[in-house]
């Protein structure tokens, strides 16, 4: 015989005072009367029931003791064999990822899921237990296994909407593991199952639940929702210009109708670009934005469309600030070289004459000497163009009329724009 609260069995001690009171009650009081004539007449009529009267006394005691026994057994929570066999242990998983914020008519998917969850709680039998888990990418246990319906309702009410993507795998793994030792486990998943094609693992877990548990999938919405959303918005280094950034924007139309709308791009809340989009049902479109300012800032993409889920109509990305390369050009005057350098927006060019040059001048990424030999060189990045023989740091030989080039370091920055292949 199993009890969940065996300490309550001490309450059987209350039987002692009940029996004592019963015995004391039977000690009759003496009452003098002038005659027994009337009383004899009354009780002679009732003589046939006198046996019943005695039994009634005993029955009242037995009823009191029975009531006490039932009360104590209820408090001690007696567990019968059939209860253990028939009791269900239900793990309720409620998806509260971003897609569950999709609204259909008055309710969001999450609100619909919570309503269905409350109905499941209402239908719990007293022997059943339920655990409440919410999940987006990580599961959160809101209530351990309990049959206390008030606690379960409070746990369901505490689940809040999020803007996180859906990944049911961790929650399913948790549910599968906690039900391993249960006798009659059931796993109920309330979700819109917007898990995406990338989650092959989740699809396999849903199709192949463990043999010890029953899995119930309760979709809270049609798979086709009238939604257009930004599925990618990220900044990366430009593939064609190492000093520039590109922004990749992908927009998807998951509805079953063609959608036309504008895509607005903001930088630091200032409108940067507007592009009209028309997407067929199920169509994705990716687009690259580039040529941003050097200052960087907060990029925001907005879909100007009225659809079921507003959360995925706005996306943010951080555009890093780009630093210009400070370049010092030491020259007696070279218009072509100066123009070639200043036309490059990545370079912050300072031009000085050889007389103004001080060796070891700090703060420049590159120092270019044009037809000038510096007196000394300290650590740094230098480019020396056509150095004169007088005062040169190196021995400058005679020019090679027909140089033979067999190989060169192709990835050296100096050869970045050069091709020495003889054609």
């Amino acid at each position: 015989m199993n009890f969940l609260s065996p300490a309550a069995l001490f309450l059987f001690g209350i039987a002692a005072p009940i029996i004592a009171l019963y015995i004391l009650k039977l000690r009759r009081r003496r009452e003098p009367v002038s005659t027994l004539m009337f009383w004899e007449q009354i009780f002679r009529e009732k003589q046939t029931t006198s046996l019943f009267q005695k039994l009634k006394h005993l029955l009242s005691l037995l009823l009191q003791l029975l009531f006490l026994a039932l009360l104590v057994l209820a408090i001690a929570r007696r567990q019968f064999g059939f209860m253990t066999k028939l009791a269900r242990q239900i793990v309720l998983i409620i998806d509260h990822s971003a897609s569950m914020n999709t609204r259909e008519e008055a309710l969001s998917h999450l609100e619909s899921a919570k309503q269905r969850a409350l109905k499941l709680v209402d239908n719990l039998r007293f022997i059943d237990e339920m655990m409440v888990i919410s999940c987006h990418t990580q599961p959160i246990i809101h209530s351990p296994f309990t049959n206390h319906q008030k606690s379960l309702r409070a746990a369901i009410a505490s689940i809040q909407p999020t803007d996180v993507k859906t990944d049911l795998a961790p929650a399913l793994s948790l549910a599968y593991s906690v039900t391993q030792t249960n006798t009659n486990p059931e796993i109920v998943v309330l979700s819109d199952f917007a898990i995406g094609a990338q989650s092959q693992q989740v699809a396999e877990m849903l199709q192949n639940p463990p043999p010890h548990a029953k899995l119930h999938l309760l979709p809270v919405a049609d798979k086709v929702s009238h939604n257009v959303g930004i599925t990618k918005f990220r900044v990366r280094k430009s593939l064609v210009n190492a000093f520039d950034y590109q922004t990749l924007l992908t927009v998807a139309n998951t509805s079953d109708a063609e959608k036309s709308f504008n895509v607005e791009l903001y930088l630091n809340d200032g409108l940067l670009d507007v592009r009209p989009y028309t997407l067929a049902p199920g169509e994705n479109r990716s687009e690259i934005f580039s040529n941003f300012t050097f200052e960087g800032g907060k990029l925001k993409a907005v879909l100007d469309v009225d659809d079921a889920l507003s959360t995925d109509n706005v996306a943010y990305a951080a555009l890093p600030k780009r630093e210009r390369i400070p370049v010092l050009l030491v020259t007696r005057g070279n218009t072509f070289l100066e123009n070639a350098l200043t036309v490059d927006e990545k370079l912050d060019v300072t031009v000085i004459s050889p007389g103004q040059y001080k060796p070891g001048e700090a703060g420049y990424g590159v120092t270019i000497f044009d037809r000038y030999n510096p007196p000394t060189l300290v650590d740094g990045n230098y480019m020396i163009i056509y150095p004169p023989k007088a005062g040169a740091m190196w021995e400058i030989g005679a020019p090679l009329e027909t140089p033979i080039i067999t190989d060169w370091v192709r990835d050296h920055p100096i050869f970045a724009m050069s091709n020495l292949t003889i054609s």
Partner: protein, 97 residues
């Protein structure tokens, strides 16, 4: 028989308030004050109503019996002092003014 022998009879029925309206509920040993006989009883409201009906019938029968035989009859309570009772009977009979 007393009436037949030309006695002048007068019946005085003295009742106690507890006799008229017993306030007994529960388990008792009723003791007959004359015979000391014990009677264990468990009295409830139904028994009390039955008792009152029997007592009223008994009083009614006594009244009728005395009236039919022209016997003087008076019922009084034990609370009334005996000398006052006698004086009241004499006044009713016109023996004293």
């Amino acid at each position: 028989m007393l009436k037949f022998q030309k006695h002048d009879l007068f019946v005085l029925h003295i009742v106690d308030e507890k006799e008229v309206n017993p306030e007994l509920l529960g388990d008792y040993h009723l003791v007959d004050v004359e015979t000391n006989q014990l009677r264990p009883v468990t009295i409830n409201e139904s028994h009390l109503k039955r008792y009152k009906r029997l007592f009223e019938k008994y009083c009614g029968d006594l009244d009728r019996y005395c009236m039919q035989r022209e016997i003087g009859f008076i019922r009084t309570a034990t609370e009334l002092p005996f000398d006052e009772l006698i004086l009241r009977i004499f006044r009713m009979g016109g023996f004293v003014s």
